[in-house]
């Protein structure tokens, strides 16, 4: 496929790996004193494991897996609310497939569907809007989930619903934003990071300037990266070169897709439909100021929180993590997935206990899928 295969060329990869090794040696990075690079985005985590990049790079480089998997950071209470909305017989509940298997307190959306709720997986929020057009007697609710990459798709869909005056469509908005949790991680005295590989498709929407605080206020380098193996390797090399040269800059490896100032149409639609919530709860990270979005009052007719009295429109519920689940510690880098007592016994992709095992972008699922057997053998 064009713009994909070229970025998987093994010959070029060998060249970049050799250059990474040279620069890592110049810096003096070793297995015991590694350079710690966080890939923020779950898509990057998945690609690193899928292509075994963590094993291919110089041993003095350690990948720390960031909080950039929206399914993984979703609190259980939100899943419970999805199930409640979906169990209303008037409702057709629509969602991306990623969210179907996340455990709730009572059940996942997949179990609710098996129990008879009308839950449909859709590829696009536009498909949910089409369902609303075709089923005017039903309430069609779309589960709005994801970072800035996905936020424009629901904003543009809500704008389309408003333009056409479709009254039976609403969005349960759980959109979140990337910069606030990065700031929270950088403020955590336990977190020792040397640099970041920045999210490519989030940056396609917001541009590169929202990260300026990372270099200016915290003196850390960040390189926005594409998703193919060569993109990731080149970005790691660019981070290392900055460290070697004593620079801390925001650089863009993914120039073929990411413009410096992002996508103006998408940004305008986000600003029109959404506003920041004062605070938002992240699984494993707790409450983070201004890290989530809600639908503006001018679009209240399309807000499932208002229509169904759930989420932040209802009294707050606190739901404890399941017994023995260490997702929070893994997500903040305090624990490797394999150090969790439940990894591979109480928690597998088929029977997940925690969210990090559910999504293909979760660190635990990536460890299990691409290294599970290897990891367990090594432990025995």
């Amino acid at each position: 496929m064009r713009y994909v295969e070229e970025f998987r060329d093994p010959k070029a990869a060998r060249g970049v790996l050799a250059e990474i090794a040279r620069v890592a040696d110049e810096i003096g990075a070793t297995r015991d004193a590694p350079v710690r690079i966080m890939e923020i985005c779950g898509g990057h985590t998945h690609a690193i494991f899928r292509y075994g990049l963590d094993k291919l790079v110089h041993e003095g480089i350690e990948f720390i897996h960031g909080p950039g998997c929206p399914v993984c950071v979703l609190p259980m209470a939100r899943v419970d609310e999805c199930v409640e909305i979906a169990e209303d017989p008037r409702v057709i509940f629509t969602t991306f497939g990623d969210a179907m298997r996340v455990p709730g307190t009572r059940k996942s959306l997949l179990q609710a569907k098996a129990d008879g709720a009308d839950i449909r997986m859709v590829y696009s929020p536009l498909d949910a809007l089409e369902l609303a057009r075709r089923n005017p007697e039903r309430e069609v609710v779309f589960f709005g989930l994801g970072f800035e990459t996905t936020t424009p798709s629901t904003a543009l869909t809500i704008q389309a619903a408003a333009r056409e005056g479709i009254p039976n469509f609403s969005v349960f908005c759980n959109h979140i934003t990337v910069p606030p949790p990065i700031k929270a991680l950088l403020d955590d005295p336990h977190m020792l990071l040397d640099g970041f590989v920045g999210p490519g498709h989030v940056s396609m929407v917001i541009g590169t300037h929202p990260y300026d605080f990372i270099s200016e206020d915290y003196g850390k380098p960040l390189v926005v990266a594409g998703f193919e193996p060569l993109d990731l390797l080149q970005s790691v090399l660019m981070v290392l070169e900055q460290i070697r040269d004593g620079r801390a800059e925001i650089e863009n490896q993914y120039g073929r897709v990411v413009p410096e100032h992002g996508n103006p149409v998408s940004l305008a639609s986000i600003r029109d439909v959404y506003e920041a919530r004062p605070t938002f709860e992240w699984r494993g990270l707790g409450e983070i100021d201004a890290s989530g979005l809600r639908i503006r009052p001018s679009y209240a007719a399309y807000d499932a929180e208002e229509k169904f009295g759930v989420g932040y429109a209802a009294p707050r519920r606190v739901v404890a993590e399941p017994e023995g689940c260490a997702c929070g510690a893994v997500m903040t880098g305090r624990m490797k997935p394999t150090q969790c007592a439940q990894f591979g016994c109480g928690c597998t992709p088929d029977m997940p206990l925690g969210a990090l095992m559910v999504s293909s972008e979760g660190a635990c699922a990536a460890y299990w899928t691409y290294g599970g057997a290897r990891v367990l053998e090594a432990a025995e």
């Binding site: 060998r14 590829y123 994801g146 990459t149 120039g255 073929r256 996508n263």
Partner: protein
């Protein structure tokens, strides 16, 4: 979740709603051009775009893609040359 896939715009299907048919690896599907509709829609036919959840989120910049690849291939070729040099050096040692 944030994954996108390159596709080529085949033709416009509904100009009012900014919809077009895109070809993604031989599979055709209708996508919204709204995010890239800050130019005449007709100009987008034949262009490569990054598609995410049914929206063409960005035009792929061919020149940027080529420049990135050039740099990467350069590193690959340099490494190959270095490996060949090392290989020759070894074979020379054997004959000596």
């Amino acid at each position: 979740m944030c994954l996108g896939i390159p596709g080529q715009i085949v033709r416009l299907t509904d100009e009012d709603r900014q919809m077009a048919l895109a070809d993604v690896s031989g599979v055709q599907r209708e996508v919204s051009l709204a995010p890239v509709a800050d130019r005449p829609l007709a100009d987008l036919v034949g262009e490569w775009v990054l598609i995410h959840v049914g929206f063409a989120m960005a035009l792929i910049d061919e020149k940027e893609a080529e420049e990135t690849l050039e740099a990467l291939r350069g590193l690959g070729e340099a490494q190959e040359t270095l490996e060949q040099m090392a290989e020759s050096a070894k074979s020379l040692e054997v004959t000596q």
